[in-house]
């Protein structure tokens, strides 16, 4: 049967609806891009779509690979809320409850498979740890929690967090990657804003000598990192939370936020890339031969360690004042871009 792109993707989207919305969107985007690239390289729409095979077979394959079905508890809690709201829907809640037990079984098996290679001892819920010598990458996806990385003691990297009925934490260490992922269980909650008001935080303790990578991710939480001294790569990504770095020595520092401010104090790195869409960027004693600061609707302020003439400077702002002015012939690079803010950077030895 000939099916066009949109119809194929629509069917696929509906067939994989058991997956979380974000995952589903990523998958659809992936296949859409493949189809469009194939068409661009000369195939017809029908050929490009036909090459993906029967949409039911593809959907089955995607579902089989994906243990991240929608969180079972959300169904159950949603059921309970509905029941208390409408009183008469107890029967429905029982049905949903029964379903969630089935879901839970499949979910539990898949998680166990994932954690087979786990090397670290996991304490119940609150604090997990792994020996610093075994870890090459620390990865925290905090969702709505704040993340704070501090200098730890001893020989273990630790992650401490408050457990909470509506959060689900998954901790794994596989192939040198120490990973903590938090998921809000109750996403479509009407009282979401109330519950996230008290959102708690995840504290990561990194002992001296850790030279691997650190990836921190939060949607609505702040990211604070202090005294990370020999890190290879530090990446911080948040949508609505502030990122604050203090006393960092790293090979590469990448910070990214959509709607909040970035504060970089005493950051030393071979490469620094900081970008924000709607927040200001403040640097203090920033030392790096390759600096890129980028924001759309905020200012860029602070001081850079070094002499102004050593830098190739490129600054641009559409609606603000700009200092320093552009300059070339240096050995280091400094690029600052903003659309609606001032750029005010000074140099200090």
């Amino acid at each position: 049967m000939n099916m066009n792109k949109e119809l194929y993707l629509k069917r696929l989207r509906s067939l994989i609806r058991a997956l979380p919305d974000g995952e589903r969107r990523t998958i659809i985007d992936f296949y859409r891009e493949i189809i469009e690239d194939k068409m661009e390289s000369g195939q017809t729409e029908a050929e490009a779509v036909a090459e993906l095979g029967d949409v039911h077979v593809l959907a089955q394959k995607i579902l089989a690979e994906n243990p991240n079905r929608k969180p079972h508890d959300a169904n159950r809690i949603a059921g309970i809320v509905l029941a208390s709201f409408f009183g008469v829907m107890i029967v429905a809640a029982v049905v949903v409850n029964a379903l969630s037990v089935v879901n839970f079984r499949t979910y539990a098996t898949s998680t166990q498979q994932q954690s087979v290679e786990q090397e670290a001892e996991t304490a119940e819920g609150r604090k997990v740890s792994a020996p610093v010598t075994k870890i090459k990458c620390i990865y925290v996806d905090a969702e709505n929690k704040d993340v704070e990385v501090i200098r730890g003691t001893g020989n273990d990297i630790t992650m401490a967090y408050e457990t909470d009925a509506d959060q689900s934490f998954t901790f794994t260490t596989t192939d040198g990657v120490m990973k903590l992922v938090n998921r809000q269980r109750f996403k479509n909650d009407l009282f979401h804003f109330l519950s996230s008001a008290n959102h708690g935080h995840i504290e990561v303790g990194v002992p001296e000598g850790y030279a691997g990578e650190i990836y921190l991710n939060s949607s609505n939480g702040m990211i604070l990192v202090s005294d990370a001294l020999q890190v290879n790569k530090l990446t911080c990504d948040t949508s609505n939370g502030t990122v604050r770095l203090n006393n960092i020595h790293a090979e590469t520092v990448i910070v990214d936020t959509s709607n909040a401010q970035l504060d970089l104090t005493q950051v030393t790195a071979s490469k620094v890339n900081a970008s924000s869409s709607n927040g200001r960027i403040t640097v203090k004693d920033l030392a790096s031969p390759d600096v890129n600061l980028n924001t759309s609707n905020g200012s860029i302020k602070g001081n850079v360690v070094g002499a102004e003439q050593d830098y190739n400077i490129h600054t641009s702002t559409s609606n603000g004042n700009c200092s320093p002015s552009d300059h070339s012939g240096g050995t280091k690079d400094l690029t600052c871009d903003t659309s609606n803010g001032d750029i005010d950077l000074t140099f200090s030895e």
Partner: protein
């Protein structure tokens, strides 16, 4: 080929391709297909696994009025390629052992 062996090899193939330069889904498939068969539905979970294992990062660029997702290797990803070479040496030893012992 044994499915587990193929799976492990494909991970390294994908990393090798993006180690040369950042690349996107369709191009990765084209590059790898010259040596080993790979479908879109095989590639997706590999990319996802490599991303969650911090072996690659992603970013999107505008291309012909749409967004195309690019994959970039991380230091950890490069390390994985290196590890593969090390493992391969061990495999070669096993291989020559099997050949030799098999002859007698």
């Amino acid at each position: 080929m044994d499915i587990q062996i193929k799976k492990g090899l494909l991970d390294v193939c994908v990393l090798t391709v993006i180690n040369k330069q950042d690349s996107y889904g369709y191009q990765i498939i084209k590059d790898i297909s010259t040596c080993i068969e790979i479908s879109e539905s095989t590639l997706y979970p590999i990319l996802k696994r490599l991303e969650s294992g911090c072996c690659l990062t992603t970013y999107s660029l505008a291309h012909n009025g749409r967004l195309r997702k690019y994959y970039r290797i991380t230091e950890l990803g490069k390390q994985r390629i290196y590890d593969f070479f090390e493992e391969w040496k061990e495999l070669e030893q096993i291989h020559s052992f099997i050949i030799q012992e098999g002859r007698t």
